[in-house]
C-alpha cells in the first residue's frame, strides 16, 4: 500500500486548485486522481465563455480556464497525476481503493481532499410522470454529446428547468440549428444567472415560461411530445390549462447535487441543505483528515468560487499533514431566516489572528435592499447591506475572525437575511 501524503479525488477545477495550493503550502507528495481521460472536469464540455472573471479578470471558455491550472502542473513536482483512474471506495480511516487500466490498488494517505464535483438530477428525482422514451436527456449529457461527440439529440426541443446549463444549452442547440420551443420553470423566477437568461434566451427569442412545468412525457419509443401546464403557488399543475407540445427532445436542467457516494462511505456527516459534507472554515469535513472543495461541498454558481474554496482545502490539508491542527473546539453556524444553505457550517477553534473567514450562502427568496445579519444569542455581531439577494446568486462574505474572538466552544451563531428596516424619521 502506498502512503502518499495527500490524495485529491477528482481532477476538475476544484481538484486542480486544491492540489496546486497544497503544493504551494509545502506538501511534498500529492496524488491527483481523475476518473476521466483528461483533467478539467466538467469544464471540458463547457465550450462557452464566461469563466474566470473573478480570478483572471477576463472571460475564458471552460477548457481555457482549466488549462490555466493544468499548465502550472509541470512547475509542481510533488503533484503526481493519475488520469483514467477511478476511486471506488473511501473508508473512515482514509484508506481508499482505486482502479485503472494498470490495476486496482489501495492507499492510505495522510490527508484526503474530496473534489468529485456534482451530478445532475434526473427526471425521476423531480417526479415527472409519463413514458420513458428516447429523447429525454439531462442538460449536461446534451452538452457533452454536442460539444464533445458532435451529436444532435434532436430538432424540436423543450427544456424543463432554467438552471444555467439548461439556458446555455438552449442557445447552443439554437446555434446548431434546432428549434428550442421554450424553457419551462416551475418557480416564479429563473433558476440561472440573469446574464444567462439575457444572453441565451432573450437574445435568441426563446420563450421562458415561469411557474410552468412538464406534466407528462409522451411517446413509447422516441419522444412524441410533452404536456405542460402552469402551476399554482404550491407548484401544483393547473390541469385545466394543460396543453400538448409536439417535440422530439426534452432536456432537463433541474438542478445539480453534490456527488457524495464516497463521502457517505467514509461516514461523514452530510448537510441536507447543501447535499455536501459539513465543513469548517478550512474545508475540513467531520472525518479526521478528510477535506472537501468545490461542488462536492456546495453547488457554487461560478467556477472562480469553486477554485477559491478548493485552494483553502488544499492549503489546510498541507498544514494538517505537517501537524497543524485546530483542537480547541468549534462554533456552530446556523442558517436562520431566508438562508437555504450556508457554508461553512462550523468554525474550528482556535481562530488565528487576522484570519479571514469566507461565508457562502444561498437565500430562499429574493429581497431588495437586504441585510445579512450574524447573531450570537439573539445579539447582532455583524451586519452587511446588499442591494439585492436572489436564490440563484450565491452571497459571498468575508469576515474578520476578530468578530468571534470572545466566543467559546459549542456556541452558536445564526445567520439570517432580511429586508432592511425602513428608516422611520
Amino acid at each position: 500500500m502506498n502512503h502518499e501524503q495527500i490524495a485529491v479525488i477528482g481532477g476538475g477545477p476544484a481538484g486542480l486548485a486544491a492540489a496546486l495550493a497544497a503544493s504551494e503550502a509545502g506538501a511534498d507528495e500529492i496524488v491527483l486522481i481523475e476518473r476521466d481521460r483528461e483533467l478539467g472536469g466538467i469544464l471540458n464540455q463547457c465550450v462557452h465563455d464566461g469563466f474566470g472573471n473573478l480570478i483572471f479578470g477576463c472571460s475564458l471558455t471552460g477548457p481555457e480556464y482549466a488549462h490555466r491550472f493544468v499548465d502550472q502542473l509541470p512547475q509542481h513536482p510533488p503533484i503526481k497525476v493519475l488520469t483514467d483512474t477511478m476511486v471506488l471506495q473511501l473508508k473512515q480511516d482514509r484508506r481508499l481503493k482505486a482502479v485503472n487500466r494498470e490495476g486496482a490498488f489501495e492507499m492510505k494517505p495522510g490527508a484526503v481532499i474530496l473534489a468529485m464535483g456534482c451530478r445532475e438530477r434526473s427526471r425521476f428525482q423531480v417526479m415527472i410522470p409519463g413514458y420513458r422514451p428516447a429523447g429525454v436527456y439531462t442538460a449536461g449529457a446534451v452538452q457533452r454529446l454536442i460539444n464533445m461527440e458532435g451529436l444532435m439529440p434532436g430538432e424540436r426541443v423543450v427544456i424543463l428547468g432554467s438552471g444555467d446549463i439548461g439556458l446555455i444549452m438552449a442557445r447552443r442547440l439554437t446555434l446548431e440549428g434546432a428549434k428550442v420551443l421554450g424553457v419551462f420553470e416551475i418557480l416564479p423566477r429563473p433558476g440561472g444567472l440573469t446574464r444567462n437568461v439575457v444572453q441565451c434566451l432573450h437574445d435568441f427569442e426563446i420563450p421562458l415560461y415561469l411557474s410552468h412545468t412538464v406534466t407528462f412525457i409522451h411517446g413509447k419509443k422516441r419522444l412524441q411530445g410533452v404536456s405542460v401546464a402552469p402551476v399554482d403557488h404550491l407548484g401544483k399543475p393547473l390541469q385545466e390549462q394543460e396543453r400538448f407540445i409536439p417535440c422530439d427532445t426534452l432536456i432537463l436542467s433541474v438542478g445539480l447535487i453534490p456527488e457524495n457516494e464516497l463521502s457517505r462511505s467514509a461516514g461523514m456527516i452530510i448537510d441536507p441543505s447543501t447535499g455536501g459534507p459539513r465543513v469548517d472554515q478550512d474545508m475540513a469535513t467531520s472525518v479526521e483528515g478528510i477535506f472537501a472543495g468545490g461542488n462536492v461541498v456546495l453547488v457554487y454558481d461560478l467556477v472562480d468560487e469553486v477554485t477559491r474554496a478548493a485552494r483553502i482545502a488544499g492549503r489546510a490539508a498541507a498544514h494538517y499533514v505537517s501537524g497543524v491542527k485546530r483542537t480547541a473546539g468549534r462554533l456552530i453556524l446556523q442558517p436562520g431566516e431566508n438562508v437555504a444553505a450556508l457554508v461553512p457550517q462550523q468554525l474550528s477553534l482556535p481562530l488565528k489572528a487576522g484570519e479571514k473567514i469566507n461565508l457562502y450562502l444561498r437565500v430562499s427568496s429574493e429581497i431588495r435592499d437586504a441585510v445579512v445579519t450574524l447573531l450570537r444569542q439573539g445579539k447582532v455581531i455583524f451586519q452587511k447591506k446588499l442591494r439585492i439577494v436572489r436564490p440563484p446568486e450565491m452571497v459571498h462574505l468575508q469576515i474578520e475572525s476578530s468578530l468571534f474572538e470572545d466566543l467559546h466552544d459549542g456556541e452558536e451563531i445564526t445567520c439570517r437575511v432580511t429586508a432592511q428596516e425602513v428608516n422611520q424619521n
Binding site: 494498470e102 451530478r119 449536461g140 454529446l145 454536442i146 458532435g150 439529440p153
Partner: protein, 577 residues
C-alpha cells in the same frame, strides 16, 4: 344452462347500469362472446368481468367497444411470405414464458425457433414486474395460477442455480393495521395451509423483533417464508441464452403477422421478416396472445390490459427499509393497488408497487402522478422511519395480460391443430414460469409430439460475477488479463468497459442501449445514465460497428440522435506524468 348464463348476465348488467347499452351476449358451452358499445373503458372491463365471474364460464371474448375511450388504432404490420426458416416448434414471444419454454424444449431432439417483435427479449411484462417469486398464498386455491405458482416456487431455486441468476428467499409479511381485520390473516393462513404453503401468524412484538423498520401500528402479520426475489429480465435473458447454447434460435425484431394452415392444421408462421414452416406453434405473446389466437380462427378469449406502476429507490436508503417483503390486507381494499407491497430487489434497491389500473392501451406503460402518489400514500405507513420521496431513483410500469376468467389460459387452440395458447399469463407468471414450461411440454406430448432427450444438453449457464464486487487480488488478475476491466464507465453501479463489451458479445445479440442496461446495470443507478450515457453509446457503436447516430434506445423508432453536428475535434492526449 345456455339460457341461464345469458339471463344471469343480463341481470348482472342491469345491476351495474349496463342494460341501457343493449349489449349482445352469445353463449355456447361455457364460452361467452360479448359485443356492442358502451361509453367508457371501465364499463367494457366490468362487462367482461361479470361474464368471466359466472360459475361454469370457461372463456370470455369481449368485443364491446368504448365510444368515448377508443383504444389507440392498431396498425397491422405487413407480413413477408418468403420462407426463411423451418422448425419443429415455433414460439411466439420471448418473454419469461416463451424463453422458459424454449429452454425446456432445447433439452430434446427438436429444432426450436423463438420469434420476438421487439429488439430484445423481456421487453413486455417480463421486464416490468416486481421480480417476486410468490409463495402462492394469495392465489385462489383451485386455479391454474395457484397450482403453477406452487410448482414454480418449488422449481425456482434450482433453475436460478443452473442459470446463475440471483434468487433470494426474502420472506413476506402480510400486515393488518386494524384489530378487526386480524381475522383476515386467519383466513389467509387457512387458505395457505390448504395449499400446503408454510405460513406463520405473528403478533406485533414478534414482527418488530424480526423487522424493526416495520410500523409499531401493525396489529398482526402472516409470514410466508418461501417468498423469494429474482431478477425477471436477467432470468429471461438467461433462459434465452441457455436455450441458444442448446440449439434454439431467436429472431428479434420479428413480428408475427399471420398463421398459415391447411385443412385445419398449422403449416407455418408469417412474420415481418419472412415466414417459417412449422407444424407446432406456441402462442406466448403476452398482451397480444388474443390477437395471435384470432389469426387461427374465431377469437377464443380476450386480453384486457391491467397496468401496474412501481417505484425504485436508491440502494443506499435500503438500511432504513425493511429487508423482508411486505403487503397490506384490508377489508376496504383500494381497487387500484389491490396487492402490491414493499420489497428489496435482488440488487438491494427498495421497490414499492405495483398499482392495478385497467387500461385500454396494451402498451400503456406510462406512470401517472396519481399512481406515484397512491403508492407513496399506501405504503409509507408500513415503514414510518423511511423517507421515501427523496430516495426515488426511477419508476416504471408494466402491463398484465389478464383474461376475464382471471386465470392462466394454457391449452391447445380450439380451431387450429398445432397451435397451443399460453395466454392470460398475468401475475404470478414469473413465479410460475418454470412450471408453465413443464405443463406446455406435457401438452405437447399429449398432442403427439415425441420428446427424445439430447445428450449434449447443458443445463448450466454462467454469468461472470460483477467486477466491482471481486476482491482486490482478483480484480488485479483480471485487469492484467484485460485492462478494460480497469476502466469504470458507469460510476453509480461501478461497471467496467470490459463488462459492457462482454454483454455486447453474448449468445443472444444485444442491439440496443436498453439491452446493454438490462445485462450490465449500466445507467440503472441514481444518476440514471446522465453521466455514462455518451460513454456507453461510444462503446456500443464501436463494438457493433454501428455509426453512433444509428444506436437506438429500444430498437427501431427509438433513435437517440437526429444527426451529427460536425466531425468531433481530435482529442488532446490525456495529461499524465
Amino acid at each position: 344452462m345456455s339460457k341461464n348464463v345469458t339471463t344471469l348476465l343480463r341481470e348482472l348488467f342491469a345491476e351495474h347500469e349496463l342494460e341501457k347499452f343493449a349489449l349482445q351476449i352469445e353463449e355456447q358451452e361455457g364460452r361467452i362472446r360479448l359485443s356492442g358499445s358502451v361509453d367508457y373503458w371501465e364499463q367494457v372491463v366490468t362487462a367482461g368481468h361479470l361474464a368471466g365471474g359466472i360459475r361454469g364460464v370457461r372463456s370470455v371474448v369481449n368485443e364491446i367497444t368504448a365510444a368515448l375511450e377508443p383504444p389507440p388504432p392498431y396498425r397491422a404490420p405487413v407480413g413477408n411470405p418468403t420462407v426463411i426458416g423451418e422448425a419443429d416448434v415455433v414460439i411466439i414471444g420471448a418473454g419469461i414464458v416463451g424463453a422458459a419454454i424454449a429452454r425446456e424444449l432445447s433439452r430434446y431432439q427438436l429444432s426450436v425457433i423463438v420469434l420476438e417483435k421487439e429488439a430484445d427479449v423481456a421487453c413486455g411484462a417480463s421486464k416490468a414486474n416486481n421480480g417476486m417469486v410468490h409463495s402462492g398464498i394469495v392465489q385462489e386455491p383451485d386455479s391454474l395460477r395457484s397450482r403453477l405458482n406452487l410448482r414454480g416456487n418449488a422449481l425456482f431455486e434450482e433453475v436460478c442455480r443452473e442459470l446463475d441468476v440471483p434468487f433470494q428467499r426474502c420472506n413476506l409479511a402480510v400486515n393488518v393495521f386494524k384489530e378487526e381485520e386480524l381475522f383476515l390473516l386467519e383466513l389467509l393462513k387457512a387458505r395457505g395451509e390448504m395449499s400446503g404453503i408454510p405460513v406463520q401468524l405473528v403478533d406485533p412484538t414478534e414482527l418488530t423483533a424480526l423487522e424493526p423498520a416495520l410500523s409499531p401500528e401493525i396489529k398482526g402479520a402472516l409470514l410466508a417464508p418461501t417468498t423469494a426475489m429474482t431478477s425477471p429480465y436477467q432470468l429471461t435473458i438467461a433462459y434465452a441464452e441457455n436455450a441458444i447454447t442448446n440449439g434454439a434460435r431467436f429472431y428479434l425484431n420479428t413480428e408475427v403477422t399471420a398463421l398459415e394452415q391447411k385443412e385445419g392444421a398449422l403449416t407455418g408462421v408469417i412474420t415481418t421478416r419472412g415466414s417459417f414452416r412449422t407444424r407446432c406453434c406456441i402462442n406466448a405473446a403476452g398482451v397480444y396472445a388474443d390477437r395471435i389466437a384470432a389469426m387461427a380462427g374465431p377469437p377464443e378469449f380476450t386480453i384486457h390490459p391491467r397496468k401496474g406502476e412501481f417505484i425504485i429507490f436508491d440502494r443506499e436508503s435500503a438500511v432504513e427499509h425493511a429487508a423482508i417483503a411486505t403487503g397490506i390486507l384490508e377489508l376496504a381494499r383500494d381497487p387500484y393497488t389491490k396487492g402490491g407491497g414493499t420489497m428489496l430487489t435482488v440488487d438491494g434497491n427498495p421497490e414499492w408497487g405495483p398499482t392495478a389500473v385497467e387500461v385500454c392501451d396494451r402498451e400503456d406503460t406510462s406512470v401517472t402522478a396519481e399512481g406515484l402518489n397512491r403508492l407513496l400514500e399506501k405504503f409509507s405507513p408500513l415503514l414510518p422511519g423511511y423517507e421515501a420521496r427523496p430516495a426515488i431513483i426511477t419508476y416504471f410500469a408494466g402491463v398484465r395480460a389478464a383474461t376475464y376468467i382471471e386465470d392462466f389460459h394454457i391449452a391447445p387452440s380450439n380451431y387450429l391443430q398445432g397451435l397451443i395458447h399460453v395466454a392470460g399469463i398475468q401475475s404470478p407468471g414469473l413465479a410460475a414460469a418454470p412450471a408453465i414450461a413443464e405443463l406446455v411440454l406435457e401438452i405437447l406430448q399429449e398432442e403427439g409430439m415425441v420428446l427424445l432427450e439430447k445428450e449434449s444438453f447443458n443445463p448450466c449457464r454462467r454469468e461472470p460475477p460483477p467486477f466491482s464486487e471481486l476482491p482486490l487480488a482478483e480484480q488485479n488478475r483480471l485487469i492484467r488479463e484485460d485492462p478494460r476491466y480497469g476502466h469504470i464507465v458507469c460510476r453509480c453501479e461501478q461497471i467496467s468497459e470490459k463488462e459492457i463489451v462482454d454483454a455486447l458479445h453474448r449468445p443472444l445479440p444485444t442491439l440496443t442501449l436498453d439491452a446493454v442496461k438490462r445485462r450490465t446495470r449500466v445507467g440503472m443507478g441514481r444518476c440514471q445514465g446522465g453521466f455514462c450515457l455518451p460513454r456507453v453509446l461510444l462503446i456500443i457503436s464501436r463494438e457493433l460497428g454501428l455509426p453512433l447516430e444509428k444506436v437506438t434506445k429500444s430498437g427501431p423508432g427509438s433513435p437517440l440522435f437526429s444527426r451529427r453536428t460536425k466531425e468531433p475535434l481530435p482529442r488532446k492526449e490525456a495529461i499524465s506524468r
